[in-house]
Symmetry: C2
Subunit: 256 residues, 2 copies
Protein backbone atom coordinates (compact mmCIF):
# COMPACT_ATOMS: atom_id res chain seq x y z
CA UNK A 1 0.00 0.00 0.00
CA UNK A 2 1.31 3.44 -0.84
CA UNK A 3 -0.11 6.92 -0.38
CA UNK A 4 -0.31 9.22 -3.40
CA UNK A 5 -0.77 12.96 -3.47
CA UNK A 6 -2.54 14.21 -6.58
CA UNK A 7 -2.84 17.80 -7.83
CA UNK A 8 -5.74 18.53 -10.12
CA UNK A 9 -7.59 21.30 -11.90
CA UNK A 10 -11.26 21.38 -12.75
CA UNK A 11 -13.80 23.56 -14.47
CA UNK A 12 -16.52 23.63 -11.81
CA UNK A 13 -19.28 24.75 -14.23
CA UNK A 14 -20.87 21.35 -14.71
CA UNK A 15 -20.32 19.98 -11.18
CA UNK A 16 -22.58 20.14 -8.13
CA UNK A 17 -19.44 21.00 -6.20
CA UNK A 18 -16.46 18.93 -5.09
CA UNK A 19 -18.04 16.74 -2.43
CA UNK A 20 -19.76 13.49 -3.36
CA UNK A 21 -23.58 13.53 -3.21
CA UNK A 22 -26.10 10.93 -4.33
CA UNK A 23 -27.39 11.41 -7.90
CA UNK A 24 -25.27 14.51 -8.49
CA UNK A 25 -22.22 15.00 -10.69
CA UNK A 26 -19.36 15.88 -8.35
CA UNK A 27 -15.58 16.05 -8.66
CA UNK A 28 -15.08 13.56 -5.81
CA UNK A 29 -17.63 11.25 -7.40
CA UNK A 30 -15.78 11.29 -10.73
CA UNK A 31 -12.41 10.73 -9.03
CA UNK A 32 -13.67 7.78 -6.96
CA UNK A 33 -15.40 6.32 -10.02
CA UNK A 34 -12.14 6.49 -12.00
CA UNK A 35 -10.19 4.91 -9.13
CA UNK A 36 -12.84 2.18 -8.78
CA UNK A 37 -12.30 1.25 -12.44
CA UNK A 38 -8.52 1.38 -12.11
CA UNK A 39 -8.71 -0.90 -9.04
CA UNK A 40 -11.06 -3.38 -10.76
CA UNK A 41 -14.03 -2.71 -8.51
CA UNK A 42 -12.16 -2.09 -5.27
CA UNK A 43 -13.38 1.11 -3.54
CA UNK A 44 -10.70 3.79 -3.07
CA UNK A 45 -11.68 6.82 -1.00
CA UNK A 46 -10.08 10.18 -1.79
CA UNK A 47 -9.37 12.96 0.72
CA UNK A 48 -9.23 16.55 -0.52
CA UNK A 49 -7.69 19.72 0.94
CA UNK A 50 -11.25 20.96 1.25
CA UNK A 51 -14.52 21.25 -0.64
CA UNK A 52 -15.44 23.67 -3.37
CA UNK A 53 -19.04 24.70 -4.08
CA UNK A 54 -21.08 24.19 -7.24
CA UNK A 55 -19.68 26.36 -10.04
CA UNK A 56 -16.39 27.04 -8.22
CA UNK A 57 -13.20 26.10 -10.08
CA UNK A 58 -9.83 24.72 -9.06
CA UNK A 59 -6.43 25.35 -10.57
CA UNK A 60 -4.58 23.45 -7.85
CA UNK A 61 -6.84 21.26 -5.73
CA UNK A 62 -4.96 18.51 -3.84
CA UNK A 63 -6.23 15.07 -2.87
CA UNK A 64 -4.62 11.94 -1.43
CA UNK A 65 -5.53 8.27 -1.58
CA UNK A 66 -4.00 4.90 -0.76
CA UNK A 67 -3.44 2.27 -3.43
CA UNK A 68 -1.97 -1.22 -3.65
CA UNK A 69 -1.28 -0.73 -7.39
CA UNK A 70 2.35 -0.64 -8.51
CA UNK A 71 2.16 1.94 -11.28
CA UNK A 72 5.29 4.01 -11.94
CA UNK A 73 4.85 7.58 -10.77
CA UNK A 74 4.81 9.26 -14.16
CA UNK A 75 2.20 6.81 -15.51
CA UNK A 76 -0.34 7.61 -12.81
CA UNK A 77 -1.38 10.93 -14.32
CA UNK A 78 -2.11 9.35 -17.68
CA UNK A 79 -3.87 6.31 -16.16
CA UNK A 80 -6.19 8.55 -14.16
CA UNK A 81 -6.71 11.16 -16.89
CA UNK A 82 -7.83 8.46 -19.31
CA UNK A 83 -10.64 7.47 -16.95
CA UNK A 84 -11.73 11.02 -16.10
CA UNK A 85 -14.05 13.44 -17.94
CA UNK A 86 -12.32 16.31 -19.70
CA UNK A 87 -13.42 18.99 -17.23
CA UNK A 88 -10.99 17.49 -14.70
CA UNK A 89 -7.27 17.53 -15.36
CA UNK A 90 -4.63 15.63 -13.40
CA UNK A 91 -1.62 17.94 -13.03
CA UNK A 92 0.73 15.75 -10.98
CA UNK A 93 0.77 12.55 -8.94
CA UNK A 94 3.54 12.01 -6.39
CA UNK A 95 4.26 9.36 -3.78
CA UNK A 96 4.11 10.75 -0.25
CA UNK A 97 4.70 9.48 3.28
CA UNK A 98 1.86 7.31 4.65
CA UNK A 99 1.26 10.01 7.27
CA UNK A 100 0.56 12.77 4.71
CA UNK A 101 -3.00 14.09 4.79
CA UNK A 102 -4.38 16.39 2.06
CA UNK A 103 -6.65 18.21 4.49
CA UNK A 104 -4.97 18.10 7.89
CA UNK A 105 -1.49 18.99 6.64
CA UNK A 106 -2.51 22.16 4.79
CA UNK A 107 -0.41 25.13 5.92
CA UNK A 108 -1.95 27.74 3.60
CA UNK A 109 -4.28 28.12 0.68
CA UNK A 110 -4.48 30.58 -2.15
CA UNK A 111 -7.80 31.52 -3.71
CA UNK A 112 -8.32 33.88 -6.61
CA UNK A 113 -11.51 35.61 -7.65
CA UNK A 114 -11.88 36.94 -11.21
CA UNK A 115 -14.10 39.85 -12.19
CA UNK A 116 -14.58 41.32 -15.66
CA UNK A 117 -15.75 44.87 -15.98
CA UNK A 118 -16.53 45.49 -19.65
CA UNK A 119 -20.04 46.82 -20.26
CA UNK A 120 -21.10 43.95 -22.51
CA UNK A 121 -21.86 40.50 -21.21
CA UNK A 122 -19.14 38.12 -22.47
CA UNK A 123 -20.37 34.62 -23.37
CA UNK A 124 -16.79 33.28 -23.16
CA UNK A 125 -16.30 34.44 -19.58
CA UNK A 126 -19.79 33.84 -18.18
CA UNK A 127 -18.76 30.63 -16.37
CA UNK A 128 -15.26 31.81 -15.47
CA UNK A 129 -15.59 35.28 -13.93
CA UNK A 130 -18.13 37.63 -12.35
CA UNK A 131 -19.50 40.31 -14.65
CA UNK A 132 -19.43 43.57 -12.70
CA UNK A 133 -19.66 46.46 -15.21
CA UNK A 134 -19.79 49.25 -12.65
CA UNK A 135 -17.28 51.83 -11.59
CA UNK A 136 -14.94 50.69 -8.83
CA UNK A 137 -12.64 52.65 -6.54
CA UNK A 138 -9.68 50.27 -6.53
CA UNK A 139 -7.76 52.37 -4.01
CA UNK A 140 -10.66 52.04 -1.55
CA UNK A 141 -10.73 48.26 -2.07
CA UNK A 142 -7.00 48.06 -1.35
CA UNK A 143 -7.38 50.19 1.74
CA UNK A 144 -10.23 47.99 2.99
CA UNK A 145 -8.17 44.86 2.29
CA UNK A 146 -5.46 46.05 4.67
CA UNK A 147 -7.98 45.84 7.54
CA UNK A 148 -8.52 42.15 6.71
CA UNK A 149 -4.85 41.13 6.85
CA UNK A 150 -3.54 39.28 9.87
CA UNK A 151 -5.32 37.23 12.54
CA UNK A 152 -9.08 37.84 12.85
CA UNK A 153 -12.26 36.11 13.84
CA UNK A 154 -13.89 35.96 10.39
CA UNK A 155 -17.41 35.08 11.66
CA UNK A 156 -18.84 38.07 9.78
CA UNK A 157 -17.30 36.76 6.56
CA UNK A 158 -18.61 33.22 6.49
CA UNK A 159 -21.94 31.64 5.74
CA UNK A 160 -24.28 31.35 8.72
CA UNK A 161 -24.32 27.63 7.84
CA UNK A 162 -20.64 27.24 8.76
CA UNK A 163 -20.26 24.34 11.18
CA UNK A 164 -16.74 24.88 12.51
CA UNK A 165 -16.49 26.45 15.96
CA UNK A 166 -13.21 28.30 15.70
CA UNK A 167 -13.54 31.06 13.13
CA UNK A 168 -10.16 32.66 13.76
CA UNK A 169 -7.97 32.58 10.67
CA UNK A 170 -4.82 34.36 9.56
CA UNK A 171 -4.86 36.22 6.24
CA UNK A 172 -1.30 36.47 4.92
CA UNK A 173 -1.98 38.42 1.79
CA UNK A 174 -4.69 40.14 -0.23
CA UNK A 175 -3.76 41.44 -3.63
CA UNK A 176 -6.01 43.31 -6.05
CA UNK A 177 -4.58 43.45 -9.55
CA UNK A 178 -5.49 43.80 -13.22
CA UNK A 179 -4.43 40.68 -15.14
CA UNK A 180 -5.33 39.54 -18.64
CA UNK A 181 -8.50 41.59 -18.87
CA UNK A 182 -9.67 40.60 -15.40
CA UNK A 183 -9.72 42.34 -12.05
CA UNK A 184 -8.16 39.66 -9.88
CA UNK A 185 -8.53 39.35 -6.11
CA UNK A 186 -5.84 37.11 -4.62
CA UNK A 187 -6.12 35.78 -1.06
CA UNK A 188 -3.52 33.72 0.79
CA UNK A 189 -4.30 32.57 4.30
CA UNK A 190 -3.87 29.67 6.67
CA UNK A 191 -7.49 28.65 6.25
CA UNK A 192 -10.79 29.80 4.78
CA UNK A 193 -14.31 29.40 6.13
CA UNK A 194 -17.42 28.42 4.17
CA UNK A 195 -18.15 31.10 1.51
CA UNK A 196 -15.46 33.32 3.05
CA UNK A 197 -13.73 34.41 -0.17
CA UNK A 198 -17.03 35.09 -1.91
CA UNK A 199 -18.26 37.24 0.99
CA UNK A 200 -14.92 39.06 1.17
CA UNK A 201 -15.09 39.84 -2.56
CA UNK A 202 -18.76 40.84 -2.37
CA UNK A 203 -17.97 43.18 0.52
CA UNK A 204 -14.87 44.63 -1.15
CA UNK A 205 -16.84 45.33 -4.33
CA UNK A 206 -19.39 47.21 -2.23
CA UNK A 207 -16.51 49.19 -0.75
CA UNK A 208 -15.38 49.90 -4.32
CA UNK A 209 -18.93 51.09 -5.12
CA UNK A 210 -18.87 53.37 -2.03
CA UNK A 211 -21.75 51.46 -0.43
CA UNK A 212 -19.57 50.32 2.47
CA UNK A 213 -16.93 52.64 3.92
CA UNK A 214 -13.30 51.53 4.23
CA UNK A 215 -13.41 52.48 7.89
CA UNK A 216 -16.40 50.17 8.50
CA UNK A 217 -14.37 46.99 7.91
CA UNK A 218 -12.92 46.74 11.45
CA UNK A 219 -16.42 47.22 12.87
CA UNK A 220 -17.83 44.51 10.58
CA UNK A 221 -15.11 42.12 11.76
CA UNK A 222 -15.84 43.03 15.40
CA UNK A 223 -19.56 42.24 15.04
CA UNK A 224 -18.76 38.55 14.32
CA UNK A 225 -22.07 38.25 12.51
CA UNK A 226 -22.63 37.49 8.83
CA UNK A 227 -25.44 40.02 8.46
CA UNK A 228 -23.05 42.97 8.76
CA UNK A 229 -20.81 42.04 5.81
CA UNK A 230 -21.65 42.58 2.15
CA UNK A 231 -23.12 40.32 -0.50
CA UNK A 232 -21.82 36.87 -1.40
CA UNK A 233 -20.18 37.16 -4.83
CA UNK A 234 -21.31 34.44 -7.27
CA UNK A 235 -19.41 31.13 -7.50
CA UNK A 236 -18.18 31.25 -11.10
CA UNK A 237 -15.46 33.85 -10.36
CA UNK A 238 -13.81 31.73 -7.65
CA UNK A 239 -10.74 29.50 -8.07
CA UNK A 240 -8.98 27.35 -5.49
CA UNK A 241 -5.61 28.34 -6.88
CA UNK A 242 -2.99 26.55 -4.78
CA UNK A 243 -2.69 24.50 -1.61
CA UNK A 244 0.48 24.76 0.45
CA UNK A 245 1.84 22.01 2.70
CA UNK A 246 5.21 23.46 3.60
CA UNK A 247 6.09 26.03 6.19
CA UNK A 248 4.46 28.90 4.38
CA UNK A 249 6.64 31.73 5.61
CA UNK A 250 9.73 30.49 3.82
CA UNK A 251 8.46 28.59 0.79
CA UNK A 252 5.25 30.08 -0.58
CA UNK A 253 5.96 32.36 -3.50
CA UNK A 254 4.30 35.72 -3.12
CA UNK A 255 3.49 35.50 0.57
CA UNK A 256 4.74 38.55 2.40
CA UNK B 1 -40.46 48.54 -41.41
CA UNK B 2 -36.77 49.05 -40.87
CA UNK B 3 -33.75 46.82 -41.39
CA UNK B 4 -31.36 46.25 -38.48
CA UNK B 5 -27.81 44.91 -38.57
CA UNK B 6 -26.82 43.10 -35.41
CA UNK B 7 -23.34 42.01 -34.33
CA UNK B 8 -23.15 39.17 -31.87
CA UNK B 9 -20.77 36.81 -30.11
CA UNK B 10 -21.50 33.28 -29.01
CA UNK B 11 -19.87 30.41 -27.22
CA UNK B 12 -20.60 27.61 -29.68
CA UNK B 13 -20.01 24.80 -27.15
CA UNK B 14 -23.65 24.09 -26.39
CA UNK B 15 -25.09 24.75 -29.85
CA UNK B 16 -25.66 22.34 -32.75
CA UNK B 17 -24.22 25.07 -34.95
CA UNK B 18 -25.61 28.39 -36.15
CA UNK B 19 -28.28 27.22 -38.58
CA UNK B 20 -31.77 26.39 -37.36
CA UNK B 21 -32.64 22.67 -37.25
CA UNK B 22 -35.68 20.89 -35.81
CA UNK B 23 -35.28 19.73 -32.20
CA UNK B 24 -31.73 21.10 -31.91
CA UNK B 25 -30.42 24.05 -29.96
CA UNK B 26 -29.04 26.48 -32.55
CA UNK B 27 -27.97 30.13 -32.51
CA UNK B 28 -30.44 31.05 -35.26
CA UNK B 29 -33.18 29.20 -33.38
CA UNK B 30 -32.50 31.18 -30.20
CA UNK B 31 -32.37 34.49 -32.10
CA UNK B 32 -35.65 33.86 -33.92
CA UNK B 33 -37.27 32.69 -30.69
CA UNK B 34 -36.21 35.92 -28.95
CA UNK B 35 -37.48 38.04 -31.87
CA UNK B 36 -40.76 36.08 -31.88
CA UNK B 37 -41.30 37.04 -28.23
CA UNK B 38 -40.30 40.65 -28.83
CA UNK B 39 -42.76 40.85 -31.76
CA UNK B 40 -45.60 39.25 -29.75
CA UNK B 41 -45.80 36.07 -31.81
CA UNK B 42 -44.96 37.56 -35.21
CA UNK B 43 -42.28 35.52 -37.00
CA UNK B 44 -39.08 37.45 -37.82
CA UNK B 45 -36.50 35.68 -39.94
CA UNK B 46 -32.82 36.47 -39.44
CA UNK B 47 -30.13 36.35 -42.14
CA UNK B 48 -26.53 35.71 -41.09
CA UNK B 49 -23.19 36.38 -42.81
CA UNK B 50 -22.84 32.60 -42.94
CA UNK B 51 -23.19 29.47 -40.84
CA UNK B 52 -20.88 28.17 -38.17
CA UNK B 53 -20.68 24.47 -37.28
CA UNK B 54 -21.44 22.79 -33.96
CA UNK B 55 -18.83 23.80 -31.36
CA UNK B 56 -17.52 26.72 -33.46
CA UNK B 57 -17.55 30.13 -31.77
CA UNK B 58 -18.19 33.67 -32.95
CA UNK B 59 -16.67 36.93 -31.72
CA UNK B 60 -18.26 38.98 -34.48
CA UNK B 61 -21.07 37.21 -36.33
CA UNK B 62 -23.40 39.57 -38.19
CA UNK B 63 -27.10 39.11 -38.90
CA UNK B 64 -29.85 41.31 -40.27
CA UNK B 65 -33.61 41.31 -39.88
CA UNK B 66 -36.59 43.54 -40.63
CA UNK B 67 -38.83 44.88 -37.91
CA UNK B 68 -41.87 47.14 -37.59
CA UNK B 69 -40.97 47.92 -33.96
CA UNK B 70 -39.97 51.47 -33.10
CA UNK B 71 -37.32 50.84 -30.46
CA UNK B 72 -34.54 53.43 -30.14
CA UNK B 73 -31.22 52.08 -31.45
CA UNK B 74 -29.41 51.86 -28.15
CA UNK B 75 -32.31 49.99 -26.50
CA UNK B 76 -32.32 47.18 -29.05
CA UNK B 77 -29.22 45.44 -27.62
CA UNK B 78 -30.71 45.31 -24.14
CA UNK B 79 -34.17 44.24 -25.39
CA UNK B 80 -32.67 41.35 -27.33
CA UNK B 81 -30.10 40.37 -24.71
CA UNK B 82 -32.81 40.07 -22.07
CA UNK B 83 -34.57 37.43 -24.18
CA UNK B 84 -31.44 35.48 -25.13
CA UNK B 85 -29.52 32.77 -23.25
CA UNK B 86 -26.21 33.86 -21.74
CA UNK B 87 -24.03 32.01 -24.27
CA UNK B 88 -25.10 34.59 -26.88
CA UNK B 89 -24.12 38.22 -26.49
CA UNK B 90 -25.48 41.12 -28.54
CA UNK B 91 -22.57 43.47 -29.25
CA UNK B 92 -24.29 46.14 -31.34
CA UNK B 93 -27.50 46.83 -33.21
CA UNK B 94 -27.55 49.50 -35.93
CA UNK B 95 -30.12 50.69 -38.46
CA UNK B 96 -29.05 50.00 -42.03
CA UNK B 97 -30.38 50.67 -45.52
CA UNK B 98 -33.22 48.35 -46.56
CA UNK B 99 -30.92 46.98 -49.27
CA UNK B 100 -28.24 45.79 -46.81
CA UNK B 101 -27.81 42.02 -46.71
CA UNK B 102 -25.71 40.31 -44.01
CA UNK B 103 -24.64 37.53 -46.35
CA UNK B 104 -24.58 38.97 -49.85
CA UNK B 105 -22.82 42.22 -48.89
CA UNK B 106 -19.85 40.60 -47.13
CA UNK B 107 -16.57 41.87 -48.56
CA UNK B 108 -14.24 39.89 -46.29
CA UNK B 109 -14.22 37.69 -43.23
CA UNK B 110 -11.69 37.09 -40.52
CA UNK B 111 -11.46 33.73 -38.78
CA UNK B 112 -9.10 32.84 -35.96
CA UNK B 113 -8.10 29.39 -34.80
CA UNK B 114 -6.66 28.92 -31.30
CA UNK B 115 -4.28 26.12 -30.32
CA UNK B 116 -2.75 25.50 -26.90
CA UNK B 117 0.45 23.54 -26.68
CA UNK B 118 1.09 22.83 -23.01
CA UNK B 119 1.61 19.13 -22.23
CA UNK B 120 -1.28 18.89 -19.77
CA UNK B 121 -4.89 18.93 -20.85
CA UNK B 122 -6.48 22.21 -19.66
CA UNK B 123 -10.10 21.88 -18.50
CA UNK B 124 -10.58 25.66 -18.88
CA UNK B 125 -9.57 25.67 -22.53
CA UNK B 126 -11.06 22.35 -23.66
CA UNK B 127 -14.05 24.02 -25.35
CA UNK B 128 -12.15 27.09 -26.56
CA UNK B 129 -8.96 25.86 -28.24
CA UNK B 130 -7.39 22.75 -29.77
CA UNK B 131 -4.94 20.91 -27.50
CA UNK B 132 -1.89 20.10 -29.62
CA UNK B 133 1.02 19.34 -27.25
CA UNK B 134 3.53 18.41 -29.94
CA UNK B 135 6.56 20.15 -31.32
CA UNK B 136 5.82 22.53 -34.17
CA UNK B 137 8.10 24.17 -36.70
CA UNK B 138 6.48 27.63 -36.79
CA UNK B 139 8.80 28.84 -39.55
CA UNK B 140 7.66 25.97 -41.78
CA UNK B 141 4.00 26.83 -41.07
CA UNK B 142 4.62 30.45 -42.03
CA UNK B 143 6.41 29.40 -45.20
CA UNK B 144 3.52 27.09 -46.13
CA UNK B 145 1.01 29.87 -45.41
CA UNK B 146 2.64 32.07 -48.04
CA UNK B 147 1.66 29.53 -50.71
CA UNK B 148 -1.98 29.92 -49.66
CA UNK B 149 -2.13 33.70 -49.99
CA UNK B 150 -3.81 35.24 -53.02
CA UNK B 151 -6.39 33.86 -55.43
CA UNK B 152 -6.70 30.05 -55.51
CA UNK B 153 -9.20 27.32 -56.19
CA UNK B 154 -9.49 25.97 -52.64
CA UNK B 155 -11.25 22.70 -53.61
CA UNK B 156 -8.56 20.69 -51.79
CA UNK B 157 -9.26 22.69 -48.63
CA UNK B 158 -12.98 22.26 -48.28
CA UNK B 159 -15.27 19.46 -47.21
CA UNK B 160 -16.28 17.09 -49.99
CA UNK B 161 -19.84 17.96 -48.92
CA UNK B 162 -19.42 21.58 -50.09
CA UNK B 163 -22.31 22.51 -52.37
CA UNK B 164 -21.05 25.72 -53.97
CA UNK B 165 -19.68 25.39 -57.49
CA UNK B 166 -17.11 28.15 -57.56
CA UNK B 167 -14.34 27.32 -55.12
CA UNK B 168 -12.05 30.16 -56.07
CA UNK B 169 -11.41 32.50 -53.15
CA UNK B 170 -8.87 35.18 -52.36
CA UNK B 171 -6.88 34.91 -49.14
CA UNK B 172 -5.69 38.36 -48.10
CA UNK B 173 -3.76 37.43 -45.01
CA UNK B 174 -2.60 34.50 -42.92
CA UNK B 175 -0.91 35.28 -39.67
CA UNK B 176 0.54 32.79 -37.17
CA UNK B 177 1.25 34.34 -33.79
CA UNK B 178 1.61 33.60 -30.08
CA UNK B 179 -1.02 35.47 -28.09
CA UNK B 180 -2.12 35.07 -24.48
CA UNK B 181 -0.85 31.50 -24.13
CA UNK B 182 -2.32 30.41 -27.46
CA UNK B 183 -0.88 29.76 -30.88
CA UNK B 184 -3.25 31.80 -33.02
CA UNK B 185 -3.88 31.30 -36.74
CA UNK B 186 -5.52 34.34 -38.29
CA UNK B 187 -7.11 34.19 -41.74
CA UNK B 188 -8.61 37.10 -43.66
CA UNK B 189 -10.15 36.41 -47.05
CA UNK B 190 -13.01 37.39 -49.31
CA UNK B 191 -14.81 34.14 -48.58
CA UNK B 192 -14.38 30.76 -46.96
CA UNK B 193 -15.69 27.35 -48.02
CA UNK B 194 -17.22 24.68 -45.79
CA UNK B 195 -14.61 23.49 -43.24
CA UNK B 196 -11.93 25.50 -45.07
CA UNK B 197 -10.27 27.09 -42.03
CA UNK B 198 -10.26 23.83 -40.09
CA UNK B 199 -8.66 21.96 -43.01
CA UNK B 200 -6.13 24.76 -43.53
CA UNK B 201 -5.16 24.62 -39.84
CA UNK B 202 -5.05 20.81 -39.81
CA UNK B 203 -2.80 20.86 -42.87
CA UNK B 204 -0.55 23.63 -41.51
CA UNK B 205 -0.12 21.73 -38.23
CA UNK B 206 0.97 18.69 -40.25
CA UNK B 207 3.46 20.93 -42.03
CA UNK B 208 4.66 22.05 -38.58
CA UNK B 209 5.04 18.39 -37.60
CA UNK B 210 7.05 17.73 -40.80
CA UNK B 211 4.44 15.29 -42.09
CA UNK B 212 3.63 17.51 -45.07
CA UNK B 213 6.41 19.45 -46.81
CA UNK B 214 6.15 23.20 -47.33
CA UNK B 215 6.82 22.66 -51.03
CA UNK B 216 3.83 20.27 -51.30
CA UNK B 217 1.26 23.03 -50.68
CA UNK B 218 1.12 24.29 -54.29
CA UNK B 219 0.68 20.69 -55.49
CA UNK B 220 -2.12 20.09 -52.97
CA UNK B 221 -3.89 23.25 -54.22
CA UNK B 222 -3.40 22.13 -57.84
CA UNK B 223 -5.03 18.73 -57.19
CA UNK B 224 -8.35 20.40 -56.33
CA UNK B 225 -9.32 17.36 -54.30
CA UNK B 226 -9.95 17.21 -50.53
CA UNK B 227 -8.12 13.90 -50.07
CA UNK B 228 -4.72 15.52 -50.71
CA UNK B 229 -4.89 18.08 -47.89
CA UNK B 230 -4.34 17.34 -44.20
CA UNK B 231 -6.71 16.59 -41.35
CA UNK B 232 -9.68 18.73 -40.36
CA UNK B 233 -8.79 20.45 -37.07
CA UNK B 234 -11.55 20.14 -34.44
CA UNK B 235 -14.31 22.78 -34.17
CA UNK B 236 -13.66 24.16 -30.68
CA UNK B 237 -10.55 26.12 -31.74
CA UNK B 238 -12.40 28.07 -34.45
CA UNK B 239 -13.82 31.60 -34.12
CA UNK B 240 -15.66 33.68 -36.70
CA UNK B 241 -13.83 36.81 -35.61
CA UNK B 242 -15.08 39.64 -37.81
CA UNK B 243 -17.20 40.23 -40.88
CA UNK B 244 -16.35 43.14 -43.18
CA UNK B 245 -18.84 44.98 -45.36
CA UNK B 246 -16.70 47.85 -46.57
CA UNK B 247 -14.20 47.96 -49.36
CA UNK B 248 -11.67 45.81 -47.63
CA UNK B 249 -8.51 47.18 -49.23
CA UNK B 250 -8.86 50.55 -47.57
CA UNK B 251 -10.75 49.97 -44.35
CA UNK B 252 -9.97 46.58 -42.82
CA UNK B 253 -7.40 46.83 -40.06
CA UNK B 254 -4.56 44.40 -40.51
CA UNK B 255 -5.18 43.54 -44.13
CA UNK B 256 -1.99 43.87 -46.13
Amino acid sequence: MQRLKCELAYDGSAFSGYQIQPNKRTVQGELEQALLKLHKGQVVKVYASGRTDAGVHARGQVIHFDTPLQIPGERWSVALQTLLPDDISILAVTKVAPTFHARFDVTAKEYRYLVYREQAHDPFRRNFAYHYPYSIDIAAIKAASRHLLGVHDFSSFCSAKTEVEDKVREMYEIEVMEDGGFLVFRFVGNGFLYNMVRILVGTLLQVGAEKIAVADIPAILAKKNRIYAGKTAPPQGLYLWKVFYESCITTCPGVK
